[in-house]
Subunit: 375 residues, 2 copies
Amino acid sequence: MTASIEAKGAAAGLPPVHVIGTGLIGASVGLALRAVDVDVTLADQSETSVALARDLGAGRITGDIAPGLVVIAAPPDVAPRLILEALQSWPEAVVTDVTSVKQAVLADLVRSGVPLDRYVGSHPMAGRERSGAISARADLFEGRAWVLCPHEHTDGRATDLVGRLARATGAAVSTLSPHDHDAAVAAVSHVPQIAASLVAARLEHLSEQAVGLAGQGVRDVTRIAASDPGLWTQILSGNAPAVAAILREVSTDLDRVVAALEALGSGVDDVADAPGARAVLARSIADGNAGHARIPGKHGAPPAAYAVVRVVVDDRPGEIARLLTEIGEEGVNLEDLRLDHGLGLPFGLAEVSVLPTSAGPLTEALQARGWQIQS
Amino acid sequence: MTASIEAKGAAAGLPPVHVIGTGLIGASVGLALRAVDVDVTLADQSETSVALARDLGAGRITGDIAPGLVVIAAPPDVAPRLILEALQSWPEAVVTDVTSVKQAVLADLVRSGVPLDRYVGSHPMAGRERSGAISARADLFEGRAWVLCPHEHTDGRATDLVGRLARATGAAVSTLSPHDHDAAVAAVSHVPQIAASLVAARLEHLSEQAVGLAGQGVRDVTRIAASDPGLWTQILSGNAPAVAAILREVSTDLDRVVAALEALGSGVDDVADAPGARAVLARSIADGNAGHARIPGKHGAPPAAYAVVRVVVDDRPGEIARLLTEIGEEGVNLEDLRLDHGLGLPFGLAEVSVLPTSAGPLTEALQARGWQIQS
């Protein structure tokens, strides 16, 4: 936690911060800033909500304020109006908003004709299943990305100040244009959600035996299909153009795969048939390889190809712990761990990811300790 | 491992087994059966391959055999011919194949006009990244599903015998018609692979900052996008009609989502616009919820809603082990564990899944032991 504490130390010099909108995100911003002794004032259209946030320790309520930084933590449909009011009310203050949509909010602001040098949009990529101040946490942003989205008129000092705010909450700051932000979250969050949901929907009417064949692959692909429909309708609506743009490309690729499969038909021995169809399938998988390789590994480092050691583990309390204790005793750092439960059997496989150079020695050491390795 | 040993005990009465095709699967069948003292003979079109399998301990090579059960472990394009030859060569023997395609192979056999009462197709759902006898393992099928696919002419005794063979290798046996098998693996394996690859392909040309926003969701959805293009071209080609049928449904759903997003446009405040578009989005996510809920939980039991306890863990050897040791000391059984590494920070979150009744006591116990819980 060293880096986090150092980052928070930089918060000492933050000016008074005024948070407008004391739901989950706004109240969490207040709690996080209060934890590093920043002066925070709170406002909300709901008197109950703002009083609750104050009672939870997210900041003060007073009409007599001169904030250096205003955080608008309101839904996208009211954020532009609140941003404009804040720019007018406090002519020296920097103003940011934390909505997950950046282009649409900026477009509304630009249409107003107001100078926007003191405005910089941002997006802390943190959330919870529950909403409201009652769910707020001082550590909500800890280790999460907080994206700054300066536009062409933003003053560099405004961007710097919002970056310091984000780091004060423990977040890792990155910078993207509003367009690139919307395209990025569409690609890394919104499109994967749609894909997971559409694949999962095809499982609904399978027989018990058929879904019983589900392995780790489909479990991973569809895990986020358990997400809340109401929340995701808001998210997808707010970023509709960027999501639609990528989904149209996915749709084109998908239609090409379907056409190739239809050309192949059902013959098992007509390899000469359907010229080009197999190349379409191979290209689709290879393009996926190339895209997958772009996802950064641990700590934002280039992706590492970890080696996986598969260990048979009895299904009773403490067995996984005993395994990992012994891995720790061997001085090997665990990069990831997956549990793959057998079908109808009282044991499972622990898939232990380690650096490739550790895999051989670890396998030998675990076998010497009596573990059954499935390599 | 109790159940596995009991299941293997039933193997004692298996007749001599002849394995034709000594690649990864065939040689692994031989090794698994030899481990429980079944008499195994081997054949392959390659003398080198069959000699290697023999040297590894997968069985004997002899021309003088009278097998009770013949296993055809050859690719789909040669399997039908080998099955017909085996039915003719050994008029008392039961014959099975282990290809991942069941309808196309059966269709070829039916066209031959040969009686098929002694034939039952099957599919052990196990594989490795590497191929050939050299990669074979006696425990390849341990805890994996092995699907039996009897057709309308299959004699019940043939199905019973192949089921005993499968259990002797440690596999969990289930039964599906050839049509239902092909549809099931299309839905739970082949379609998720296509979806993962198409979503991952959209990441290829993103900027470094954009892919830096990737969280656990997109990592899960695209994990299997790292799969081998050559292998998957074979798999998808072999089950083309079943995969195409489901992908056409996915395509229809996708087009509906794209149309809804296009109707919503880019406005942030025109909630009255695009009647019905938000309902399409919400319905797509809700249908995914329903399908996701069909995936069985641990041990094939009905899916359980596990509670997740999020623990901040320093990134150094032994910390995860210490955490899990202490969870074991509290007598709590770990249902799953995910490591969510922070962006650019030297610690991560361990997401510990436990039964809901254990979450509260575990959270308190871990806090008392000094762990930082992020709930």
